[in-house]
Symmetry: D3
Subunit: 136 residues, 6 copies
């Protein structure tokens, strides 16, 4: 079993804000991340699949195919977007934290992989913060 | 003459959108950067000062003092902000491109430096795009 | 289960030197790392916790809280320190290798986490050397 | 159990080309990677071993010893090489994809480690593509 | 005057080998870089232009236009190529050292820029080696 | 004229402490950098030379020769050293700040270069602090 990872990037706006709470409670819990006019990040996304390398091509998956799939399924929708408002596969009422984003990305990407299996989704929000999800 | 650089970071939302233009013309010129719901970046800011090292301390400037000044004058106002809406020192009608941001930062920071001179402001918008300004 | 990581940094001096050995034996085993006048590193520390994201906030843990905890418990004591002499929670007689540091950090940090569990501590000593510990 | 990683680098040429196929089929499957005149990469290799730190030295393994072993067994043979033509331990007929390289590296390195065990081999082909192997 | 930089990447094979010299002399001067079967690198290219930001768009140049121009004029020809054999704009008899590559890139790119001026071409051959050219 | 840069690294201890001052004044001016038991850094050194590429080899200078010279003249003496105590070419009474180190490195390296000229010495003390010197 070999684990193959492709990294893609996107830039997006978001805010952490629970509409059911007062502005004060949002500021208290989320600090500057609750700024009503949004802020944003350069996100860096690691997608890892696992499988046995094909005996002829030596590929677990053709990494160009994996890259295109990630772009079609995820990047196309999140790049230069507002993660609270613009992305159809992020359920309304779900805050776009790094944790929730990778669970949503897993649900989109996992069923579309053939011949190899999704192993993990890792997402850097900044150089110093990242989250990882293994599907359960 | 020694050149000393301090790097600081901030995360912000923006869009590139000329209100006097139609939505179509904005899309045509700015592409996805014109998304009306904003997008955002992790910005990385290099501030370079120049001077002669003090014969006793060996400092052009105490880098902790420089860091605090950059935070007070710039980062405090732009971090977790919307660069089109929230920043008092970015003139209305000026689009927050990397180029325009560094000119605005220079105007804020340059007069507040004592004993050493501002040499350059460099700003990374993404890993692959940066702009630099030397004050003229 | 989602794994969330926060990275913090510190700068410290150390040496690898067993007092019970001769200077020759120390040089033979540890090479330049045994220099009696110390050397030092910019350390980069990854702390990974695991848990289920809160259904309202979307947080495994508020990353600002995690960052402050790491600073209070570890960084405050090791930053700009001498790892052989200055750190109360590193037992005397234990050399401050990357391996031993992460075990000591785990013991300090693990009992202080609420609502989520410590998963791993990873420490870069240089760009090319790191060690990781999962608590057992 | 502590996991210790050493990173080494090498620069090499390769192409992805199945001799039994036509040039057209090679282009179709491998795209520009099939260029008959080769292309190349700066590879970055992570070797992770696991073990219990020695109670006196604090080492799972002396990282200088690990580094020298990786250089002797792998880097010496692959650095500034053509991975399709020059490396005795890559079987003829096996394409030098990232996946196949790490399996070949594992077979070379694993039997030569004493007192600690090989845990994983990870190889970056570019900043955005890496593969990892755990020996089975 | 603002300086704007766009970074692009390419992967290529090359060797440093003077055909008029014996194999021994080539090995003596170029070491492992003279390997007759080639080696290769992940190159990282910084292209810096200078100009006055447009008062409406805030652009020295639209960075997407600059990126496309670099791809059309340079990357398309050098990516996944053999720099000694495949690139029409590198004169025969000119070794593809980092120094010679940036001079050749300058000649291709400089005449194709409108409304702003090429300021510098910087090329990383490895993480630890780069060369820069300012056109004279 | 082409500018060629080689990066080398070293790890060292130091403190910022003026012996003529009280411990209080040292703490006041230098903060944690004055810790009497030292601290340390992974330093990253950029050495840039300039010259005309040789028409046959394409080299401003053979980068392996430049690397060996930097190692012989600087790295050998500063790596795994105490910069206040161990380095013969840093004058006593001169604090080993980043600013003073690059001036001292310039004096050592500049006279030993043949056929090309030293252009600049740049030194990173941390990821976020660097200083650069052009010889005057």
């Amino acid at each position: 079993m070999v684990y193959l990872t492709r990294i893609e990037r996107f830039n997006a706006a978001h805010k952490l804000f629970v509409p059911a709470w007062s502005e004060e409670k949002n500021k208290e819990v989320f600090g500057k991340c609750a700024n009503k006019n949004w802020h944003g990040h350069n996100y860096k996304l690691h997608v890892t699949v696992k499988g046995k390398p094909d005996p002829v091509t030596g590929f677990v998956i053709d990494v160009k195919v994996l890259s295109q799939l990630i772009k079609d399924v995820i990047i196309e929708k999140v790049d230069h977007s507002n993660l609270n408002l613009d992305v159809d596969f992020i359920p309304k009422g779900i805050l776009p934290t790094t944790e929730n984003l990778i669970i949503a990305f897993w649900k989109e990407l996992s069923p579309k992989l053939n011949n190899c299996e999704l192993h993990s989704i890792k997402l850097y929000e900044t150089e110093n913060i990242y989250a990882e999800y293994f599907g359960e």
